[in-house]
Amino acid sequence: MKANQPPTVAKWLLRHLGSSTNNETILGDLDERYRQGRSVAWYWKQVMTAVIVGMCNSRDNVEAFIAGWVAFWTLFNALFPLLGRCTVLVSVVGFISGLTVACMSNGRRWMALLLFSSTVAFYWVCLGIISSPYEPAVRFYKLMALGLSRSAQVSNETLVGNLIVLTLFIWFGASVPPARKATLQGQKA
């Protein structure tokens, strides 16, 4: 027998990760169709589609994602010769790129931020793989980046530690704009 209540986790996901301004109306429509006999799987599929489509449909979020990557890439390449791949570098780069994503996205920015931090993490892991002494990775790097010197090798511990710091600082940077807004509102009051 099907439960009368739609899946709570799916609803929570759409409410928090959905970028559409019509999230509540979409949830109302999904609940109505679910109670007309649609399955739990159908409900989940609809929620996941709404989250992805909402993200792609929001021009602000797409621009924020691109701006975040531009900030990350520019700062990383500008500061790397000065600082090397150290914790200070990843903290600064993470904080500023996270702040950029948050400032440029609309009110519902969590999906843009989640996508940004996931792709940065993926990039970081790839960077670790190509700079590792692991023989297949070395061969892969030589094949893909012919003639280029490999970046400095770092230990797995440093790589994972820096990845955690980078992710934390991205989210820390992203949490600044609302706090600043609240302070400004408090000052106006």
Partner: protein, 111 residues
């Protein structure tokens, strides 16, 4: 008319369904009608994404309706086609008919 103001194929389907449904055009009947007419499963999120774009272009307006218990107490959002939207649909129809005419493959029903 700029490229931004043109109707995409899914947007055209949605706006035609809105015209067909009249005053009862909110998410559920729109998606049911689209499924019935196209024979495909329709994602409500995609319908709303198209409706948001149509609203931005000024082809559609919306108003909040009454909340109902089967919707978990959430309000319905009704959509209406504007005069500008109707004009755009007619222009799109004219362009498509011009493109359609004189294609023997389509006229004989081969495609």
């Amino acid at each position: 008319m700029t490229k931004h103001d043109q109707l995409g194929s899914f947007e055209l389907m949605v706006i035609l369904v809105l015209i067909r449904l009249g005053d009862n055009a909110y998410g559920v009947p729109i998606s049911i009608e689209l499924e019935k007419r196209t024979g495909r499963d329709v994602a409500i999120g995609s319908v709303y994404a198209a409706l948001e774009r149509l609203e931005d272009k000024g082809f559609v307006t919306s108003e909040l309706g009454e909340p109902t218990p089967e919707r978990g107490g959430r309000a319905k959002k009704y959509f209406h086609v504007t005069a500008r939207g109707l004009k755009e649909v007619r222009e799109t129809q004219r362009s498509l008919v011009k493109l359609w005419n004189g294609l023997p493959e389509l006229e004989r029903g081969k495609a």
